[in-house]
Amino acid sequence: MFESVLIANRGEIAKRIIKTCKRLNIRTIAVYSEADEASPHVKEADEAYLIGPARVNESYLNVDRIIEVAKEANAEAIHPGYGLLSENTDFAKRIQDEGIVFVGPDSYAINQMGSKLTARKTMEKAGVPIIPGTNDPISTTEEAKEFANKIGYPVMLKASHGGGGIGMQIVHNDQELEKAFESNARRAEQFFGNGTMFIEKVIENAHHIEIQLLADHHGNVLHLFDRECSIQRRHQKVIEEAPSPLLKEETRQKMADAAIKAAKAIQYKNAGTIEFLVDEDQNFYFLEMNTRLQVEHPVTEQITGIDLVEQQLKVAFGDELTLKQEDIQIQGHSIEARIYAEDPKTFFPSPGKITKLSLPEAPFIRHDVAVENEYQVTPFYDPMIAKLIVSGSTREETVKNLKTVLSKYEVEGIKTNLPLLKDIVELQAFKDGHTRTSFIQEYILVNQ
């Protein structure tokens, strides 16, 4: 196993990775920006290096500086976490050229999945069902209108290089499309340096369900079942759970098989996730592949008992997976609620100082937290400040546990989405598992 790992990330995920490294006796090297000097991940790592000013472009996305630190600290490997540099092909390649191991797939696989359009083609060729849509870029509003009318509204406009919901919008008619097409292309250009757009048909009443995979350098690909992540705001997940309440056993198996086929098609290595949209008749369609650890990975860890970060490190080191598919079983149920520093109604960010933080404790609770009492939440990074993961032997028990824990979870000084989370767990539709991607729109916003 590696002797040392640099964690090129911040917040709760940096802490999460450090935790597993400590258990495996791996020396941990943290990096931080000027705004994160007092962050928990800096204190918990064995070593920490300042890499630049607050803005991500000057710090957490500063490839040159991170490589410089990795060499100075003699890091054998770099774990990118999620977001930031985790799906940056140039970064993966550059550190490899420096003789440092990237804890993730090779740049070929990241590239194949980095462009949503390329990914669609690759998946179609591999025999994985894709959403009806364009296989080539759409460059003008006129062209977009023509295609939309051909497949029928509503359609989803998507940026090929987009992510986090940016550059993505549903439109219901020509007028909406005219308004949305160019502005989304422009935003994608600003955010991702690429304004290529394409169109997909909207899958009605869809659930967002994904399959967790683990693949090694010896040709083994395993699945760790599914996660349902349908409850979203601004196209970002709010509540995730495993296993999905929607899937029939037969569909679950079919999706796992398709996901394994997809990974094999690009000789994928390390942990990865294939996201699907699933309609209420159990039809599923490839959405995208995330070539990294996911925010919501803890629910899979809770139901399988497998530490995904440990498996990632083993695979990156070159070890063969010792796990066998038949050893991986679903035990119980697990739900993750993301705690965002934001207004619970408008979802606008709410940075500021945390004046009180009270986290309930029980054996069925897991906290992956990036903040502490008196912590200053800055406006520079993602609004997610904590993840609350609650488990139980059944879904019903888990929902009950979550409700109890949320009623005792306290964050003061900043606005958080806790009121929203409490509203969600009270809803009959949530208790019944009727969690379509339109959930928040359908049950929460409609009453405001």
Partner: protein, 70 residues
């Protein structure tokens, strides 16, 4: 006279009008950026931009006055 105020705390990413410009109700005045989210802040009345109270890169709190429209 009408004030344009920040609907969230964040950095002023872009100022899209100049002092003296004629703006219409609903037209963007600045774009704020916070926690990876951009929020355009629009004028609520039609008029002339009398004063811009912020520059690009400034930090504003929720409720801070960004511009005055007359």
């Amino acid at each position: 006279m009408n004030q344009v105020t920040a609907s969230m705390a964040g950095n002023v990413w872009k100022v899209v009008v100049n002092e003296g410009d004629q703006v219409e109700s609903g037209q963007d005045v600045v774009i704020l950026e916070s926690m990876k989210m951009e929020i355009p802040i629009a004028a609520e009345t039609t008029g002339t931009v009398k004063e811009l109270k912020v520059n690009e890169g400034d930090f504003v709190n929720e409720g801070d006055v960004i511009a005055v429209i007359e």
